[in-house]
Amino acid sequence: MSKPPYEKQEKIEFASAKDLPPTPISLGIATVNRTGSWRYMMPLFEDKTPPCNNQCPASVDIEGMMRLVGEGKFEEAYLLLRKENPFSAICGAICPHPCEKVCNRGRFDRALAIRAIERMVAEFGLERDIPIEKGKEREGKVAIVGGGPIGLSAGYFLTLLGYKVDLFEQEEELGGALRAIGLKKLPQKLLEKEVAFIEEVGVNIITGRKLGESISLEDLRNDYQAILLALGYPPEKPIKPKKDSSLETDIPGVFALALKEGDIASAVAEGKRGAIVVDCFISKKEFKPEQLKIGENGPLSFRKYCGEKIKRSDHIASFSELNLAYFEKNEGKAPDERRGYSPTEAKEEASRCFHCGVCNMCGNCYTVCPDAAIQPLPDGRGYRLHYGYCKGCLLCVNECPRAAMSFKEVER
């Protein structure tokens, strides 16, 4: 897209009839007429939080994943998933998928089968051993006690942050509570694969070591800058955190994680929280959870913590804010419980996504703007509104299928 023709132009003045063309014809360009001064309403290009993202305890960018899967970019979708979730494959099998319950498409025809798509994407990545990008290596060493989903998650995120992580598990096998889930629901192989993935990312796993018996907290405190206790739920906790959000215990440098509700995505979220708290402790930063949340009361985002700019307002895009005229009823194909989706089926299912609140460059606003005041950004990620010319007709807001445009009144 070439540069928008907004360069300044002098107003053409006609002194007499002789200067005029025979009939009213524009001889310059209309940019001299700054129609933006007529505005009473101001449209805003503003991505919002899709309800699914807000609802996912693991803070997965579900909408982003749907976009990538819909375009057949499975590897990119996999990497996006892994930014927030080391247990995507297991989530794809057993997560209670609160995302699907709030999917706006559910009120239109059928909610997207998000979990089945996630499973397909996770298995796609695991099969191909797609490598995960890690942060720069750091000095610090962190010990994690407990090889259940919380401990493994915390180890995963700390490794991504560049720490050396030793994870101690009392049993010979990892997985903790996950191993208590029936094999029908969670095949052993899937658990093994995902634990192997976490190990491959770089978490050093030491099994058969029980706190208080073969390892002592004192020894750990000598060898590690921080110790994260992920002893699970509901076993008794020898050391309780002081308060829920900080996870700190009475012993400096020792943090304790606990989970009140026992689903896998929440375990991932708790592990993530632990990793972030520990990093803040080691790098002497204040832990500010309110800056890391997705949506109005949503989960902590590891991407946000890593400094990724997620330009979305906290407002949750609701069903009533969508312009349904742009969507056709399409119930698609529900996934087979056992087999899940093939990549082709997942792609088709993901294409049903409304992308609630998130611009997908459909071009409606650009097309309907009577003042050519909306131009696509050079990187193809969104639009620029030229307020010098926007008359505030709000056609762009009305014709946005997915509520990626907002507006406010202009005070005069």
Binding site: L20, P22, T23, P24, I25, S26
Partner: protein, 386 residues
Amino acid sequence: MKKVIVGNHAVSYGAMLSRVEVIAAYPITPQTQIVEELSEMCASGKLAAKFLKVESEHSAMASCIGASATGARAFTATSSHGLALMHELLHWAAGARLPIVMANVNRAMAPGWSIWVDQNDSLSQRDTGWLQFYCESNQEVLDTIIQAYKISEKVLLPSMVILDAFFLSHTSEPVDIPDQKEVDRFLPPYRPKYKLDVNDPHAFGGLCAPDIYMEFRYKMEKAMEEAIVVAEEVDNEFKRQFGRGYGLVEEYRTDDAELIIVTSSTVSATTRVVVDDLRSKGEKVGMVKIRMFRPFPKEKVLSALKKAEKVAVIDRNISYGHGGIFAEEIKSTIYGTEIEKKPTIFGYVTGLGGRDITPELITEIAKKTLKAQKPESDIIWMGVKL
């Protein structure tokens, strides 16, 4: 090449020889044959024009406006209610300064329904900014179409070429159809300075605030005034090349006339016979035929009419509440001029709705006028069954 053709087909031939590029028309009696013939010309490849079938006259004129704005030579034909339906766009075509040429077959307005001739349809469009030519013969119709393009494209105003329902539209006459090569030499392709062009985009017909609107109207009026000069030049040029000229106003045996009968359209042909007949009986009668009604060729009308003491205007039309329209135009033209002896104007309204204007009727008008000192009333109705 001479052919015996109806007036409607003379229009078609005139358009074809002018190499029109876009034709958009909707059929209406008594115009239909014009469009039928043109559609066949397009279908057979005789005429390389885009023929647009449209759903109304309003759309026909809108299409012509669009086509003309792109620089194409556009043509349409209509009649009566069809012309009335175009009214809004007649203003647009003229205001946009598009040299569209249209044939209008004069037909009376309803109710009561009539398909026969009178001039109220075209005269109702007097103030839309279109040039108007009223034709006497099929030959004149064909020649005027060609001339009209040349005049219109010079002054950038549209032209209406008008012929009488049935008396011309459906009457066969021998017509000399000029060679295409000769017409091409006379009428070069239309090359407008401003046109709709995707490679050079401009906005057309935009909002004009009060500080600029009037100047466009002033320019239109100036173009109308220029059209009088241009039309005469074009007619002279046409005469040099094709041997036929019509003038904007034609004088017939007026030199020593005591009475001049003012006519338009086919009434002129009948009046010639009456003038000859009365002359042979010693009456000093002449005729002035007004061919160009808009712009109104005031000077030519004046210089012709000042020769006589009395003027009888035959109006096949009426402006309700005022009178015959040609008569009123003539009266206003004469008023305030410095002619020593202003002729007395007798305004006759007759022939409405296609009622025949016979030699006997015109003779009666002549005799009545010669006998009277002054008109008995503003409107002198002829042939009304009272």
